[in-house]
């Protein structure tokens, strides 16, 4: 009898309809084959380097370091990738895999639109059909990204069910995938969902820490003391952490979206407020009520506005290997503005959650400590929303 697969401690698994089981089994077999295939890896590396602009810089934020007066701060610049975020790392890998599997159509969920844009980009590059599901609320707050996806040739389907945000877009993608499996690959954007997605997405995002580790050794001759990344589903966070997990002296900190605060109902901080559950194909922590109904979460960041967290993060939390802190909208917006003025880098509002925690943490640390913050994406897409938050109305 086949066992439950893809477990991270007690988390993970494959809680999906029978209709999709052969699809995830086929995906797992294909992935296990291609991940060790030199030809596949050569193609992927070439795409990452020549098309997406990797490796991304590890930038010493000197002004910020001096201003905060504590730990030495480096920024891992995923915002400089083609399409403007870390999402392209995973998408190029999955799209290439899908192509090898003979799939001709990609479907994807998106929150802030970064994963949708990356998927639409890969689909354009590979000549594949692309449909992106995006909560109606998110379509409105990230209108620029909706336009970008359409420009790239994708169909964008606004999702009106439930809270009309990221979780509903994921649900709608799962429904769509059960309807059309043969020619379609579900290009999941985070380290979540049923096995093998959390593993596949993590492996493709692990390029972040593989590079940053080598870059850090080159620049400083040692590993950092802290690695910070924002964490919704958790793909940039797991990518930023992965190659440091074995180095116990490196503190790993995931920054969750607290929204209006973890003592309010308007929050998306899963580790800080959620409990163990089963949803979207996995066992992990979820924001939910006493009867297991998934909570309508909230964050200013459409990309972190998700009621769950990837199963590997849930395990890293259980074992204490990583720490998960909550950052409010207000702190994130302040950090968004701070990094823009201090370093001339406009971070995505998602990434600003990690910057916000660094602003709190760095001054408490001695100057010989080193911190790496992953800037998972760039903030152009957020300018209109942040302006609105500050009471200013700009027409995009």
């Amino acid at each position: 009898m086949p066992d439950s697969k893809g477990r991270f401690g007690i988390h993970g698994g494959q809680y999906i309809p029978e209709t999709l089981m052969n699809a995830v089994i086929e995906l797992e077999e294909a992935y296990n084959h291609y991940k060790n295939d030199p030809e596949f890896n050569k193609e992927l590396t070439e795409l990452l380097n020549e098309y997406a602009g990797r490796p991304s810089n590890l930038y010493y934020a000197e002004k910020m370091t001096k201003d905060l007066g504590g730990a030495k701060i480096y920024l891992k610049r995923e915002d400089l990738n083609h399409t403007g975020s870390h999402k392209i790392n995973n998408v190029l890998g999955q799209a290439l895999l899908a192509k090898k599997m003979g799939k001709t159509r990609l479907i994807a969920e998106t929150g802030a639109g970064q994963h949708g844009v990356a998927t639409a980009t890969a689909a354009a590059l590979f000549g594949m059909e692309c449909v992106v599901f995006m909560g109606k609320v998110d379509c409105e707050r990230q209108a620029l990204n909706v336009y970008r996806m359409k420009l790239l040739g994708a169909d964008v389907v606004p999702v009106t069910s439930g809270t009309a945000t990221l979780k509903d877009a994921v649900s709608e993608c799962m429904r769509e995938w059960t309807t059309r499996i043969d020619d379609t690959h579900y290009c999941l954007g985070s380290v979540m969902g049923p096995h093998p997605f959390p593993t596949i997405v993590r492996d493709f995002q692990a390029v972040i820490s593989r590079e940053s580790k080598a870059q850090m050794l080159e620049k400083e001759g040692r590993l950092p003391d802290y690695v910070l990344a924002c964490c919704g589903g958790g793909s940039n966070a797991i990518g930023s952490f992965y190659h440091y997990i074995e180095n116990k002296e490196v503190n790993l900190i995931g920054c969750e979206a607290a929204g209006r605060g973890i003592d309010t109902f308007e929050t998306a901080a899963t580790i800080n407020t959620g409990k163990l559950g089963i949803f979207h194909g996995m066992k992990s922590y979820f924001c939910q009520d006493e009867y297991g109904q998934i909570a309508p979460v909230y964050s200013i960041s459409a990309g972190l506005d998700y009621p769950g967290i990837g199963p590997e993060h849930a395990m890293l939390h259980d074992t204490g290997r990583a720490q998960y802190v909550a950052v409010t909208d207000d702190e994130a917006v302040n950090a968004f503005e701070y990094l823009s003025r201090m370093e001339g880098i406009i971070p995505a509002i998602e990434s600003a959650h990690a910057v916000a925690h660094a602003i709190k943490l760095a001054p408490t640390l001695p100057k010989d400590k080193i911190m790496v913050i992953t800037i998972s994406g760039r903030g152009d897409k957020d300018c209109a929303a942040i302006a609105r938050y500050r009471g200013e109305n700009i027409n995009e």
Binding site: M1, P17, E18, T19, L20, R175, T178, G277, I278
Partner: protein, 258 residues
Amino acid sequence: MSNIAKAFENGKAFIPFITCGDPDLETTAKCVVEMQKAGASLVELGIPFSDPTAEGPVIMEASLRALEAGCTTDKVFEMVRKLRTELGVTIPMVFMTYANVVFSYGIERFCQKSSEVGIDGFILPDVPYEEKAEFDSVCKQYGIDLISLIAPTSHERISMIAKEASGFIYIVSSLGVTGVRSNITTDIPSLCAAVKSSTDVPCAIGFGISTPEQAANMSKSADGVIVGSAIVKIVAQYGKDAPEQVGAYVKSMVDAIK
């Protein structure tokens, strides 16, 4: 022998589904009584879940209406208790809900309560064969059948699933989510034959069936026919006046497959 087997003793079984608590649990209970009167062999009671990923719009919207109206798992248990103790419902009843509704209640506590109020089985569409042990081991202790699902994409998985099935097997007629379909394109006779070659457990077909003609056609290959969205639509249309309409509809379907 499982209580569910009784549903398949007198010819083809008609299995209606209803979302509990839409528009309210009193109406749901009356509908179940009417279903039994009209000749239903087994009733599927849907415990609403906020994010039902296997459902089409009809059942999804009914679930959200039920939750907004205040339906909870505990209130559904109370309704079932009433159906068994006061309203004379004796046909088998199963819960259809999602893994998290059971898991968050506590699998053991959920099974114990279900068995206590008179539930005979569970259908959990997001618990496939690979994940069933965690639930099934507890279900067995309480004499509850965890219903196995088989889909048009199951292929070589069919015999593995069918061999461990109990109660009945839920054959999913089509790809996609629940909801009315004008055309079911799966080769149902072959799918049913493949299932039947691996097990003696009765099999019932659901997903997309709404008309007496479709039901009659499906019942040629299977031991039972499951209808959900078409009934939930009637409830959505008639609200508190739905029980009589639901009864008439169930009667037409029962007649079609006898």
